[in-house]
């Protein structure tokens, strides 16, 4: 079992520059979201959320049906569907296709699903040039880092970091003006788009009834990746389905607003198969990779499978007091923040990173802002229970189990409880201003010490409620 990466987290907490970057960026995104849903045109935002939740629930509960419908329709439009049970299979498919089709260069637009597969690393083994084209992702690729945020991957980088990265990796003169940095990237990447054989995009939605992949973005790199090269692969987790194109009316309205406060992103591409007879441009070949990679495992639990409704807007990250302190790189997998805390344990098993569902104050903000109404706080609690049960099975935490058993015994025996309460004010350590902030030396060992090092306890009241009640009753007589 891994433990809390406390050292790394402390480093993040002590890095003032990083703290300002995370807090500032997420704060601005929170503000933009708020502004966009307060607009009168979004008056029905709550109704949209409820509706989106109902559609996602229906789709996930009947996922096999919609997957088959999607496949039929994609094939009807001349595309191919590739089912992959894990990352290895998905990477192997892309490598094989590249060999067969003589692909030398790949342009990629933003896709968290390919991050799961670590696709770049895999295809680079075959000396294929694979280039991230979303500006943030490109910066991170050059810096050899992972995305910091689902929507704003390079949220933690300043213009000075970018200047260093570009100078070092592209050999350009040091440039700290953001517009000029962006134009450097445009120039370099434009050439890549025009010479790539294969374009890889993600998928925000898969439309079963149309056999289509929907990609939303602001830069135009996903449109270019899906329009310029002769082959296109769309990468999608199998849960991205919605039944009909008409359902997009609600999903596009909530996605843009929740992610960046935009009523609609700059570009929305609705892609269905290769170019048709008569069409002048667009890919000659179209593949959809449907990735399982643990998703069928998540489906097994009826209460927690709603985690698969996620449309990756990032709103729960921006509103999370924990994410806003520890940032994106301290989470163990590609998905960070509250959604990462409920996805990772379900994909990898609860015992791999047992600290994760505990890294939450249970303030409930994530659940309140989730555009598809995933009950994130509830799932966090259920995962905590699963972790405790797993530990019990493995015979871990005997001390904790004994302590709780003793606690339960006392609580279910009123006389003992009463006695314990009477004694509490005398046995408890000294309080300052009503809070117990430290404990006597003999308690500073074992799991208790760790627990108390992060927490203060309210001092027990001088008179217990029972005592007060009793006195009051006696006073009345």
């Amino acid at each position: 079992m891994s433990i809390l990466p406390a050292g790394e987290i402390r480093k993040t907490l002590l890095d003032d520059r990083l703290q300002t970057a995370i807090y500032g960026s997420t704060g601005r995104l929170v503000g933009k979201r708020r502004e966009s849903i307060d607009d009168p045109v979004a008056a029905e935002f709550e109704a949209w959320r409820t509706h989106a939740n109902a559609i996602k629930r229906h789709t996930i509960e009947n996922l096999d049906y919609y997957l088959e419908e999607l496949e039929r329709n994609i094939v009807k439009r001349g595309g191919k569907v590739v089912w992959c049970k894990d990352a290895e299979e998905a990477a192997e498919f892309v490598r094989r296709l590249c060999r067969e089709k003589g692909v030398r260069r790949i342009v990629k637009s933003k896709s968290m699903t390919t991050e799961e597969v670590e696709l770049n690393h895999e295809v680079e083994k075959d000396n294929i040039d694979v280039v991230e084209t979303d500006l943030g992702e490109y910066i991170l690729q050059l810096a050899k880092e992972k995305p910091y945020h689902i929507v704003a991957p390079a949220l933690h980088k300043t213009r000075y970091d970018v200047a260093d990265i570009f100078t070092k990796t592209l050999g350009v003169e040091r440039e700290t003006v953001i517009e000029k940095q962006t134009m450097i990237a445009r120039r370099v990447l434009r050439e890549k788009f025009l010479t790539a054989d294969l374009g890889i995009t993600g998928a925000n939605f898969l439309v079963a009834g149309s056999g289509a992949v929907v990609v939303v973005e602001n830069e135009g790199n996903a449109r270019l990746s899906s329009s310029a090269p002769r082959i296109q692969i769309a990468f999608a987790g199998m849960e991205k389905l919605i039944p009909r194109a008409q359902d997009l009316a609600v999903f596009l309205k909530i996605l843009g607003r929740s992610a960046t406060g935009q009523p609609l992103t700059v570009y929305t591409s609705f892609l269905s198969g290769p170019r048709r007879p008569g069409e002048i441009d667009g890919p000659e070949e179209f593949y959809l990779v449907l990735l399982d990679n643990g998703r069928t495992k998540v489906l097994q639990d009826p209460a927690k499978r709603q985690a698969l409704y996620c449309i990756r807007c990032g709103a729960c990250l921006n509103h999370c007091p924990v994410y806003r302190k520890i940032g994106g790189h301290n989470y163990p997998w590609v998905y960070s923040g509250p959604i990462g805390a409920i996805l990772s344990p379900q994909f990898h098993g609860v015992t791999r990173d047992p600290w994760l569902p505990h890294a939450s104050s249970l303030c409930g903000a994530c659940g309140e802002v989730c555009p598809v109404k995933i009950e994130i706080p509830k799932i966090l609690l259920e995962l905590r229970r699963d972790i405790a049960e797993a530990k019990e099975r493995e015979g871990e935490d005997r001390v904790q189990q004994l302590a709780f058993k003793a606690w339960a015994f006392v609580m279910t025996h009123p006389k003992l409880w009463s006695l314990a309460l009477t004694g509490a004010p005398y046995t408890m350590p000294e309080a300052e201003n009503g809070w117990i902030r430290s404990v006597p030396g003999f308690m500073k060992i074992g799991p208790l010490a760790g627990w108390l090092s992060q927490r203060d306890l309210p001092a027990p009241a001088p008179k217990s409620f029972r005592r007060l009640w009793k006195e009051r009753q006696e006073g009345r007589q």
Partner: protein
């Protein structure tokens, strides 16, 4: 085969049988407001303006042509094969080339010319959006590669919003392999959330409503 393995594992998790029909889907939520044309035009221009897109309401075809000619002046432009552009006389403006049907020739022009001129299948008033359906008349790259995009659209194509579009076009895949919504100039805020326009797509967009 992974396909069958995945499907059977999904079914066993959900307690479903192969080929089992689905219960009733939640109804589609589409609302089309009654908005008179003049108001729709106002909404479109306002929404696009907020995104730093330019718009012009042209009283007639000549006015549209003159506006475009003013923008093109001294620069090279590629126009799509949309018949409406010909009707406006835009394809005969000096500096405007059109009529490309070969992929490579089209691509080469789009990658090097300053301006791409298109019409649009629809426009959405609420969001200031152009709806582009890829076809022989309207290839994808004209609105994508050149740094400036000009769209000339008859007001008869101006819908209220997304809901009306999806009512008229319940399945876009029946019409094209690629539909794109364009809402303002290409932009990024990936460095310090500082807004920069024209990162990959056009940084400048002009919509002429005729």
């Amino acid at each position: 085969m992974s396909r069958d393995l995945i499907l059977s594992s999904i079914r066993s998790s959900l307690g479903r049988r192969a080929g089992q029909p689905v219960p009733a889907r939640p109804p589609v939520l589409l609302k089309i407001p009654e908005v008179p044309l003049a108001r729709r035009i106002g909404q479109f221009c306002e929404a696009l303006g907020k995104l730093n897109g330019k718009s012009l309401v042209a009283k007639n075809l000549e006015e549209a042509r003159d506006y475009v000619a003013g923008l093109v002046q001294g620069r090279r432009a590629i126009a799509s094969n949309a018949p409406f552009l010909g009707e406006c006389g835009i394809t005969s403006i000096p500096g405007v080339e059109t009529g490309f049907t070969g992929r490579m020739a089209l691509r080469e022009r789009c990658a090097t010319y300053d301006i791409g001129i298109t019409s649009a299948s629809f426009a959405l008033a609420e969001t200031g959006t152009l709806v582009m359906l890829s076809s022989a008349e309207e290839p994808r790259l004209v609105s994508l590669l050149p740094p400036v995009h000009i769209a000339v659209v008859p007001t008869s194509k101006l819908l209220t919003g997304l809901d009306e579009l999806l009512t008229l076009l319940p399945d876009p895949a029946g019409h094209t392999s690629g539909m794109a919504f364009i809402t303002g100039p290409s932009r990024t805020a990936d460095i310090e959330q500082f807004l920069v326009r024209g990162v990959h797509g056009p940084g400048e967009i002009h919509v002429v409503l005729v």
